[in-house]
Subunit: 338 residues, 4 copies
């Protein structure tokens, strides 16, 4: 780290700072500039002491030099991680993966029908919420326990793997029966109790970026899972909260590029939640491919007018099919296959 000393600080204050650094087991390198003095601090785990030093008299600012994550970073593992979702299906490699399905599993009929469409159009993974965290307690919260047998049946019929959200540590076990990928929603990205438990599970975890999380925050949240032993984390960019109201959230397409550069983990994009408009979704899907994402998480619904959740941002089967027909050209331009 580098300590910037306040402008007015006298010699004694600088001496004390240097002494403090030394007493913490680090090597201080003071540099006396024309207008400012800085102290470079060398040693292992200097990061842990940022807060302590920040309170010392004469400290204007402390600049950490090391990235605040390790295991998920490219500095530790340079090659990209390829994660197996199901037999013969991987994410993070050459294949571009499309996960599609309704926001919520509403009934066997609804889920089975749309699942068939997703499969026929070429989707790789089925999505569908059994538990739905909603902003208001007065809204539909998902089928919960009753959704599990429905999901199991539809998985068997289609042969597609299934990604679904877990919102409570007490549900991890129950969902293990059907979840090929555990999804952590944006609102729970920093629910560290949940992340820690998912770090002990033998399934991939898809971690959605919180609405106000920086790229660094997301990578640190992923670190919570990996540090417990589960390396298979898929990152998901789903839009951040900004002042713009033309969209539900602002899709941060640059974050896809940043995440791929700073981390070895696969990155998918959710254009449905980020935009909140069905008419925006196809163009955003193409932009995600072009930007270098490894996959998509798209909401589709047979009859959006009857959807219990998020119908207005869901693609109908014909629109989804058309999109799946257009994506290969973009994938090819990007050096991927669909």
């Amino acid at each position: 780290m580098v300590i910037i000393v306040e402008s007015g600080a006298d010699e004694q204050i600088v001496e004390d700072l240097i002494g403090k650094v030394r007493s913490l087991g680090f090597k201080p390198h003071p540099i006396y500039g024309v207008e400012k003095t800085v102290i470079a601090v060398v040693g292992e785990k200097t990061q842990d002491k940022v807060e302590v030093l920040q309170t010392m008299p004469g400290v204007q600012q402390i600049i950490p030099i090391l990235k605040p994550y390790k295991l998920v970073g490219r500095e530790v593992k340079t090659e990209s991680s390829v994660i197996e979702i199901a037999d013969g299906l991987e994410i993070g490699g050459e294949r571009f993966i499309v996960m599609a399905g309704p926001c919520a599993v509403e009934s066997y009929d609804q889920f089975a029908e749309i699942a068939q469409y997703v499969k026929e159009a070429g989707g790789h993974v089925l999505r569908g919420g059994i538990f739905k965290p909603r902003t208001s307690p007065h809204e539909f919260q998902g089928l919960r326990e009753e959704g599990v047998p429905i999901a199991r049946a539809v998985k068997e019929e289609t042969g597609l793997p299934f990604v679904t959200e877990v919102v409570d540590v007490r549900d991890i076990e129950m969902l293990h029966e059907v979840a090929d990928i555990y999804q952590v929603g944006a609102r729970n990205m920093q629910n560290f109790a949940l992340l820690t438990e998912l770090g002990k599970v033998d399934r991939p975890v898809m971690l959605k970026r919180a609405m106000s999380a920086t790229v660094e925050d997301l990578l640190q949240a992923a670190e919570y899972v990996v540090v417990e032993g589960n390396d298979d984390v898929i990152l998901c960019e789903r839009g951040i909260r900004t002042f713009e109201t033309a969209t539900r959230n602002t899709l941060d397409i640059s974050a896809v590029i940043a995440l791929k550069r700073f981390s070895h983990l696969p990155v998918v994009v959710d254009p449905s939640h980020s935009s909140g408009h069905d008419w925006m979704v196809p163009s955003l899907c193409k932009a995600a491919v072009a930007a270098g994402a490894d996959g998509l998480l798209v909401e589709t619904h047979r009859r959006p007018q009857e959807a219990m959740v998020d119908g207005y941002q869901s693609l109908t089967p014909p629109v989804f099919e058309e999109l799946m027909g257009e994506l290969p050209a973009f994938c090819e331009a990007a050096g991927r296959v669909l």
Copy 2:
């Protein structure tokens, strides 16, 4: 709700919309303007059908008229809620409440010493984290189970009630022994599993606003607790995430005023986490009193240089004591007593 019809929509589309509204059990009132047609929709629980109608052809936008929360709103209960924290200590009434203490309980000695200072300076409630959710898994996470007996001992010695954060539904019971107020941190504001469980507890809950939550989101999160039967929710403004980097977060002082107007629940301000700078805290405390807050949540630490968490934003005992000496004049100007 009011449905705004797209400009190009023909008569048939408007007819279909009107039919759909009627089929959902509501009364449609179409109004044909010079350039636009709108349909006002009258009936109970129209809110629940916003998403369904949003997907109909010809719908440009749907504007909900009712607030998305009920129980915590002033429309249902006009007088301000006064919540009993401990025998003879209430928040939301005339008395302005100061909750103070370290960010984390680190040891018996550390906590006992600062608690004594808080008490002597006139603080009403002791704060201190036993569980500390941290952005990185490599940082100190609190004393956890070992912190409980320490907190109990210090509570007994000082006689002050204690507010502490709960981060996992499985810890609610254990903390019941020491927590006079359960704190829900900003990162867990939309951890609905946790909110639902706290709705069944016989203790006040202090709900901190998430970094990207609107005033409406916060009130809807509070609704999750109240709907389960626990009316005693204290709201906490602790800064939102913006582009400004001079502060850790941007304290939204207007939110205090908005929350007091829209809701009957008490509102406290956390100037420590919002600013991230000890030198900013006293002025923000005074501004909070002036804006009409019901209390403060302030970090104090005996020796910030040795704090394991957030020392740089903690007040030392002399600064806290000075602040407590200055607050009465502001409280009086605001019609409160300290």
Copy 3:
């Protein structure tokens, strides 16, 4: 517009509101709901009276129904505008336009050399700042007057049209000699004096979105130019200010899609200023094509290490050439030609 009446408002207040609406020359349509009363207001130019009505007792909120822009909107002109930049070169049609060059014109040698590279790699328009608005007065502000003859010479040599920024109404005339497109920078997007003068000029105007402007704000700023008689406005998305610090700004790729849907004007993307990192630029360029933009504004520099401004986000000639080699496949997938 629709007036939402406050919950507690009595009959007299509603009567007064209705009377006020009528006295302004509009037709009021009151609708009495189960919990709320709303008044739909019909007539021409109701928008102009929003502020007046907002102050009436009993008004909770007023919801404007009409978009706050007209001339630049698709409701007035449905087909996309195609703007002629120079003889035989149009933007907004099938051809995807690449504008490239250095952030600032620094000298004849620097500008002539990079211009040659831009031309050889297939760029359509040359960019280069003669006036550089900088956050600090202590930074390089551009060659100013001295840059004009340099730009003229290089334009003649390459035969490429030239886009350059104007920052002061008093410079419009001088720049007329060399500017094929007048650029309005993000900081001046709401400098209405400048926009009004540019509305009287016979050249296209490229209007960059301000860092905190919504899509609606940008379209209203464009309206300032068009209302004066200059229809040839090109919109430019260049990133908005958010909490994320991994990028200089957050490129709002969804805004491209929204602008193309709401307005008939061409839209270009500036990936250099939005990201602030040269390594991010090529991927963002591809994403812009895929999202449906009409062109790009890219910073290139022969020797970024010696650039006086923004070198770190400029592409070197080899990288730019490689990018120009990759774009055609994305353009083709998007139904465009480069």
Copy 4:
């Protein structure tokens, strides 16, 4: 500045960096850490070369150590600036200054009447827009030239000094007749042509923070005025743009504290534009006093229902008078006089 070297950079790259630093005339101090190498760069005006060095191979990040402003900073001038507004009226000293009046000067009668109320209630400075920059060109833009004689007449009658906005360099001279303080609006905060001209004027300039400007940006904009010779700059916090929609903007009360610490210039708060709600204004005024502001800029209107601009956020005379009756107690608590 401090250069952080990329993790993989080899010896040669570090050597080249050190050579480059030396060739720019600075003294490099390389520090080889356990995981990272940093190079501290010592010398005068190192700031100017940040951009050049940022493009060198092997550079991960450059951290400037010096603040990007000088003349307006406390490091150059430690005591607070006291600015004379009119004979015997100063801002920045013990007296807390209230500037009040309508958003726009609409007519002699309107302005004269409200001016009288402002004076009687104890306001110190009259505000009123002669030029009104509006988001849409279809909205009222102020009386313009015709407003000048009205303002002059009302100033004479009341004897109050007058603050008014200038939006075009060509209007500075005309407004010199009536403006005791030239106001630069938020949208023009980085209109550097305007700032530069105002730096040559013999009147105080009130500079409003742009909606997306950081505290540092605002101070750098102020530097544009001061560097030209005009030291009398008053800073104005008027809310920043965030995701929150309960208020028109988010008043950044912490910015007041930061500005007072980092700069010697006076700071005023505009609670009207920041909140956009008349019912919020009085509490925000009190909070501004408590936070340490030097003054207020408040919108008042005799009959808000008839205001042509911003009536809904204007205080009526009785509310303003009540506020002026409550402020003294807060001023006294803050060590000020009204």
